[in-house]
Symmetry: C2
């Protein structure tokens, strides 16, 4: 490996001068700078970032922990985070937690241990009470659904309000028996329970009874949405609208409707949450709640950077703006 010393020897200067040239610092005469640059070229020298960060105490890498990158929502999220990080000179190491509390805790420990500069955690399972562990003042930003109270930086979205608006839209379109297809439990405070509350609120406000038989607790993958609809249909329950907890689940719902011979939107209207890239291309195209993902990614990276600058700053709580995007599935 070519080091600064090698370059220095080649150029007939000291290491320090090379360092100054490499870092574009003032105070190097042009002829010397030129000689050094040439020596760098010839030797194929590359700055050892590792050595630099050993001094600086930073790595320039932030971790991003998501359940699974191959779910469109998280792919999209990762894409935005990577871009936002790039603008601030960070690289992003992506970890997968498998949507399990254990995986999420490990991601934290790993990031800390590996000296990433911070971690953006899209937690779906970790319990706020699992906190307190020894993450000390390692910069962590909770992204998305899970709310850890005021003790930690959090960039969330309008789960209740968004789902309420989505449900209200179905009601406006004339739906009277609206089902919700969502994750496997309403216990605890997380995306599933919060979105369910938005759904329930809207029904109540409209004076529609919330039939428990129309709450399908299944899971967060496409397959769960499909299964939920099949079972709902098999149970003989009647429904003319479906609120899906995410677009991915909604995609399964659309597939499930096709399986059982129900037409969307003629027989059943469907609305999702997230506005994943695919939503506009499904048949029918999917109405959905669209949080500003770019905004969230930028905010999350900014929070990491801010905490790096001032570890003592107070945790902040942000909620991303959203809008309702209406397409064929609720026409």
């Amino acid at each position: 490996m070519v080091t600064m010393s090698d370059v220095a020897r080649l150029a007939g200067v000291s290491k320090m001068t090379v360092s100054n040239v490499v870092n574009n610092r003032a105070g190097v005469s042009d002829p010397v700078r030129l000689r050094v640059l040439e020596a760098i070229q010839k030797s194929g020298y590359r700055l050892n970032v590792n050595a630099r960060t050993l001094k600086a105490g930073r790595t320039g890498v932030i971790g991003l922990a998501v359940p699974e990158v191959d779910r469109p929502y998280y792919g999209m999220l990762a894409s935005h985070v990577i871009e936002a990080a790039k603008e601030r000179g960070f690289h992003v190491a992506v970890e997968q937690t498998g949507a399990a509390a254990e995986g999420e805790a490990q991601a934290i420990a790993q990031s800390h241990k590996l000296q990433f500069d911070g971690l953006i955690l899209s937690a779906v399972a970790l319990d706020p009470r699992d906190r307190g562990q020894s993450w000390g003042d390692f910069p962590i930003v909770m992204l998305g659904e899970r709310d850890f109270g005021a003790s930690i930086d959090h960039v969330g979205m309008a789960n209740e309000a968004g789902t309420r608006a989505a449900t209200e839209h179905l009601i406006e379109r004339g739906c009277e028996r609206i089902a919700i297809v969502t994750g496997w439990t309403l216990e605890g405070v997380h995306v599933v329970s919060r979105r369910h509350r938005g759904y329930a609120e809207a029904l109540e406000a409209a004076g529609l009874a919330a039939d428990p038989a129309l709450t399908a607790l299944s899971g967060m993958h496409m397959g769960h949405g499909r299964k939920a609809i099949r079972e709902l249909h098999a149970s003989g329950a009647k429904f003319d609208g479906v609120v899906a907890v995410t677009d991915t689940v909604a995609q399964g719902v659309l597939r499930g409707l096709a399986d059982v011979g129900l037409r969307c939107p003629e027989d059943v209207r469907v609305i999702g949450f997230d506005d994943i890239p695919e939503a506009a291309y499904l048949v029918p195209s999917l109405s959905t709640v669209a949080p500003d993902h770019r905004w969230m990614a930028e905010k999350a990276v900014a929070l990491i950077a801010a905490r790096l600058d001032d570890p003592a700053r107070r945790p902040e709580e942000h909620t991303a703006p959203y809008e309702l995007v209406l397409r064929e599935s609720t026409r």
Copy 2:
């Protein structure tokens, strides 16, 4: 920051002994080990991976450069690579190249510069002739479509054979005027041209004329597939089968067919390539060529590891196995 020296002082031993304990090396007496462990507990010491790395000359991080992680195929790929890397103790930093040669070249330079241990590059634009630059013996594995000849490790897939099989399947199902919807140019050797060749070969073998009007050069996103079908339809061209260059494009094709009122598979049969997770859930579900992605990811990581061990080893060329997955879109 708590260092080994701190722990050593606290435990009344030398740094070296602490290092030995931390790394679980033999040759430390039980009482001493215990004292050291206690000191670590009390002080909240954490190994500085950076310093270790500075010594070892490795970072434990490999780069993965893909066009865009928010395309399902690359999300899936990233997921597999991350898992495969994890098993060998590597972390994965994901870069986005934007499907541009410049971005791809930058990813190489960056990875090299940031001292990643290697780079897995899913190149779609970089020209093999751009090689030769000064990446020296930095471990790079080309993943997927782009073939850089024998000069570099490559894990590819059966582009021709897969597409040929897909096209043959359409022919068997009775299609006589088969269109291909693909990327924007057939020039050069890459996924687009190679899959097109497979398509052309199958047509020729079956004695079907390859009508140039049925080759739609559009692009690699969903939107391109949709647009291609609309234009094909508007042009008055008749077709009863479509080979899409990827599942993502196929998804756009399905949407496009819906736009112009053509039914799939009744009027037009469609087959894709990749078998992304969504393929089974589309309406209609999508027939496709399914390369073994996990196999590819593991092979790629293994090649990086192997080259790290022996920089002089000969580049290898691997082709992933594939199978045809038949679903409703070609029923």
